[in-house]
Structure formats: C-alpha cells, structure tokens
Symmetry: C2
DNA sequence: CACCATGCTACAATATTTGTAGCATGGTTA
DNA sequence: TAACCATGCTACAAATATTGTAGCATGGTG
C-alpha cells in the first residue's frame, strides 16, 4: 500500500483532501493502536510489539514507516515515540477512551 | 471477522477493554469513512456507496452490519444514519477535519 | 405487465496481514 | 576474544480481508 499523503489519491478518495488521507491511514490495521500505545511513552521496536500484543513484526515495521513518513512518529535515542503532531492527534482521539466505556455500558444494558 | 464487542477478545487485545474493541472496529477498512460520510445526513445503501467512492457492496454491507450491531448506525425510513451514540462518536472525531488540514500544511512546508 | 431503482448476495481475483524463522548488528560477560 | 545476549528488522508462505463485477429478489410506477 502506498503511504496516504494528503494531496494524493488515497483509498476512498481521489480528492486529495487531507481528511481522506487521514481516514485512510487511521483505517489501516494497527495504526490507531500504535498511536494509542505509544502515548504511554517511548518504546523500542520489541516493546511496541508487546504493547500491541499480536502485531507481526512485518506489519509493525510497515506501519512505523508510514507513521514516520507522515511525521506522527519518530525514532530517537529512547526508541519510537509520538512527534509533536502525533501527540496533537492523540489529544484529539484520547476522549475515545472514556467514550468507549460509556458505550460498552449501553451495549451491556441493551443486551439484557 | 467477528464483530468487536466490548468485553470480548478482539484483534489486538484479549483484555476485553472497550477501547480495544473500539480501536479494532475503527481500524477496519472503511469504518471511519462510513461514520464520516454518514454525518452529512442519512443515505440509502447505494448513496452511501457513492459517498465512499470505491467501497464494494460486499464490504459496505459487512461494515453496516457491524456498525448496527454496535449501535453506531441504524436503518430507519430515510435510510442509514448515525444513532445517538454514533453522533457522539462523530463529535469526538470531527476535529480530525481541521487538524488534518494543518497537518497537510506542515507536511507541505517540510517537503520544500 | 414492462420497467426501474433499490438492498443486497455470490464468488473469483487481488491485496493485506499473520506467524515463524532467522539474519545482522552491537553490546556484555566469561 | 569468543561465546552469549538483545535488538531492529527481513523473508516468505499461509491465512484473511477486500474488491469488482454480475446479477437476484423485492417493491414501486406507468
């Protein structure tokens, strides 16, 4: 898969709109998970693999390359970590944590 | 793929944590796109297909089933639309729109 | 009844993801 | 200095997910 740069055609849209590139990226397996798990601090390749529990090294490396090219993740001395932009993005999606708990509650109620 | 219900094992986690179910769901091809495109109003199956530009009917139907089971999308007289919970979720991710524009700006600057 | 449009299924072709093995590099430690 | 690690990462075949096209079934409308 090619890296979904804003401005280029991506899966789901030929428009080049940034949001479409972003939705393509985040819709790829593990992208969101990697960002989510990196928020708890920098991690080495192998540690990130463990945080993700079941990601294959092949795919982890592919996703890392994409996230680096799109400046959301960087590799410094301490290991992989979110860039400034990556943290900004995380800040937007972080409410998903508490939202998902309420959602789970509702689903549970309704299944009774 | 099984539907990622909170409480069950999902791709990426055996913990049953709601956030992991959500990240699994949103990380599936087109999930985010469908939610994004439904925000602009209810749509019939075929119209939703057009909004998504390139989704296959097979997959659209699969995703719809998942999103319905998880109470994010419903099918009423007017067609498919976001549920109350679906709109709540959209509200969380909607800042991605303007964020992605700034992100695209930065990527553009840096590529000079 | 002929004609549409709709929601959706079938299914083979294609693309993505996994799982396992293991290579290459760069420290330790004996 | 050589036998050990752990690390980042690649290879590659098997398993899964997604696409693309065709078209069926149903419910209007003229």
């Amino acid at each position: 898969m090619t890296i979904p740069f804003p401005g280029l055609e991506v899966r789901g849209s030929k428009s080049g709109k940034p949001i479409m590139a972003l939705l393509d990226l985040l819709g790829r397996t593990w992208s969101l998970g990697i960002i989510w798990h990196l928020h708890s601090g920098p991690a080495t390749f192998r540690e990130l693999q463990q945080r993700c529990e079941k990601i294959s090294p092949t795919l982890l490396n592919t996703r890392i390359k994409e996230l680096k090219a799109l400046q959301l993740v960087e590799c410094k001395g301490v290991g992989y970590q979110l860039t400034h932009q990556g943290r900004d993005l995380f800040d937007i999606i972080s409410p998903l944590g508490s939202w998902s708990s309420r959602w789970a509650q509702v689903l549970k109620e309704d299944s009774k």
